[in-house]
């Protein structure tokens, strides 16, 4: 059995949980190693620095999301407008479950990191921006389909998709600040009402 992928996965999973529950700056390599039960030498074999680890954590989580609940919510078999509800449900139940276990709502890892490091690290900022762009594209493709099938009136789908992503990230931030996932449940369904009209 090859132990290497397992060691790398353990480091990634531990760092992801620590960065998400606390912050990038607050978590050190030493405690990541302790949490993942690996030696520092082994850590540096996989990740030259904490920053390299954070970049890998972003990729890892983005990949999990894309193949996990984002794919489930933006299911092509669902009517387009319903996919928006499923995305809100996904955000709510995920944040609620985390709060039930930890006592604290963690918020969105990407949103948390964007707030923390966007003024300090352009490479990490660009990676986070790419994650948000891909999320926005999911919304836009859904809106394009809704408009094409007549389920929604014509609109500026690119800007509306961006506004929907901003709304979802915003209510998750507000819910985190209140430590109350019900904010997502209460306000989330209004995502369907957001519209940026086409320029006249």
């Amino acid at each position: 059995m090859n132990a290497e992928p397992d060691t790398r996965s353990r480091i990634l999973a531990t760092a992801r949980e620590m960065f998400h529950g606390r912050s990038y700056a607050d978590v050190g390599i030493q405690e990541i190693c302790e949490g993942a039960r690996v030696q520092k030498g082994s850590f540096y074999h996989f990740f030259p620095s904490k920053r390299d680890l954070a970049l890998a954590v972003i990729d890892d989580m983005a990949d999990d999301w894309a193949h996990g609940f984002v794919a489930e919510a933006f299911d092509q078999n669902l009517p387009p407008v319903e996919r928006l509800d499923y995305m809100v449900d996904a955000a709510y139940y995920w944040q609620k479950a985390a709060k039930d276990i930890e006592g604290r709502m963690p918020g969105c890892l990407f949103g948390n990191l964007a707030l923390e490091i966007s003024t300090r690290d352009d490479v990490m900022r660009a990676k986070l921006n790419a994650v948000f762009e891909r999320a926005k594209d999911k919304f836009r493709l859904t809106l394009d389909e809704a408009v094409a099938t007549g389920a929604m009136a014509p609109m500026n789908t690119e800007d509306t998709a961006t506004a929907m992503l901003a709304f979802l990230e915003g209510i998750i931030l507000l819910a985190k600040t209140r430590n109350d996932p019900d904010v997502i449940l209460r306000l989330g369904p209004a995502i369907k009402t957001l519209r940026i009209e086409l320029a006249q």
């Binding site: 996990g68 609940f69 499923y86 449900d89 955000a91 139940y93 995920w94 609620k96 479950a97 276990i101």
Partner: protein, 75 residues
């Protein structure tokens, strides 16, 4: 407890079991029952909250080894 349909959500983490449950219920008739089998430890609280919010009835919930089993009647 028998049900009209069974959803195997074992190995899936929150929120996937809830999303699959919602999708499956949406395709069922009112009054029909759905058995959900999950391994996510958070699923007990999640399924209770889901039923409270959607008006579906949680008829039974039980732990069977590492599996959590729920029976839901569609509203």
């Amino acid at each position: 407890m028998e049900a009209n349909q069974t959803l195997d959500a074992r190995g899936l983490n929150c929120p996937l079991p809830i999303l699959r449950t919602k999708k499956t219920l949406n395709a069922m008739q009112s009054g029909e029952t759905l058995k959900v089998v999950a391994t996510d430890p958070g699923s007990l609280k999640d399924m209770t909250a889901f039923c409270d919010q959607t008006g579906n009835t949680l008829l039974a919930s039980a732990q069977n080894g590492g599996d959590f089993e729920f029976v839901i009647r569609k509203v």
